[in-house]
Amino acid sequence: MHELGIMQNIVDTVQDYARKNNVSKVVKVMLEVGQVSGVVPESLEFCFEVCTKQTMLEGALLEIERIVAVGKCKTCEEGFDLLTHSFSCPRCGGTDWEMISGRELIIKELEVI
């Protein structure tokens, strides 16, 4: 359960941006969270309210886009969902792949006033 610390990082980063760019209020925060980033979106949502109290993010919406863990098969180059297909290529059965996405932990976009 390190989501509280992670959320505090997010709030700090957003406030930092807001201060430097004359933003008076943040109304929406959009995150990208990879499936194997080790971070649970539900816990992030839970921590968001606590961490944004009495900040310029208070009352803002939190939108989390879950990024699927995708691997690219090194044998047939097929891109596939690693978790759904238990880490082996559904096209050729290959088990050697390169990770394309799934470890993201990014503040993607803000909506500000």
């Binding site: 359960m1 390190h2 610390g5 992670i6 990082n9 997010i10 700090d12 980063t13 957003v14 941006y17 760019n21 109304v27 929406k28 995150l31 194997v36 980033s37 080790g38 971070v39 863990a69 690693l82 978790l83 238990s86 880490f87 082996s88 088990t95 050697d96 792949w97 990770m99 470890r103 932990l105 990014i106 503040i107 993607k108 976009e109 803000l110 909506e111 500000v112 006033i113």
Partner: protein, 248 residues
Amino acid sequence: MCETCGCGLTNPNVLLHEHEIETKRVDLEEKVLRHNDRLAERNRGIFEATQILVVNLVSSPGAGKTTLLENTIRALKGEMAIGVIEGDQQTDRDAKRIEATGVDVLQINTIDACHLDAHMIRHALDHFSLLELDLLFIENVGNLICPGAFDLGEDFRVVVLSIPEGEDKPLKYPGVFIGSHLVLVSKVDLLRVLELEVNQFFTNVKKVHPHVPCLSLSAKTGEGMEGWYSWLRDKVKAKKKNLNQPPK
């Protein structure tokens, strides 16, 4: 002025009014852990300059990291200078065990945190005479999820997976295995008792991280420890010559 919302409306009789507030979308594309990553890079610079090989040991609680370290230190301290940073939520039990082996050790108590971060490591480094060290172990907080997200500036992240945890752990907790550079399957002396095959563990590790090197060992019986020692010797030597590939 409307006192509720601060707009310029002057007619005080209009109690309810709507606003078209213009919002602006901003592409931020900022890594959440950018601060940690930056400090980790700084640590990496220190380790580069001092030519210390740094190994971040990660596992579930009770996988045998400390016992592995005790035996490793006793076997290698005659040929290289070793330091240890111990991470636990509470107590200095592990630090005391390491201290008994005669090397320099610092305990970090994270209290609430479930992992070590680059900032804690930076401060811990002040405790050591870095120019005298060849190898620094960081024993992370026992946890198979959270430590995976935090770069400490280490050369290698080594995951210890013990036999009693079961062979399915890499599939259940892929994140930490995907980010590892070496996997040690430990407590292999228990394979017979638990009627398990070490290959089941290797297969599942390779499933989530196809090219990661794996070793099997038992700190208790000494089986397989020589392979781990030669891995460490090679990497320490390569670090002195700046030959190690930096981890991604």
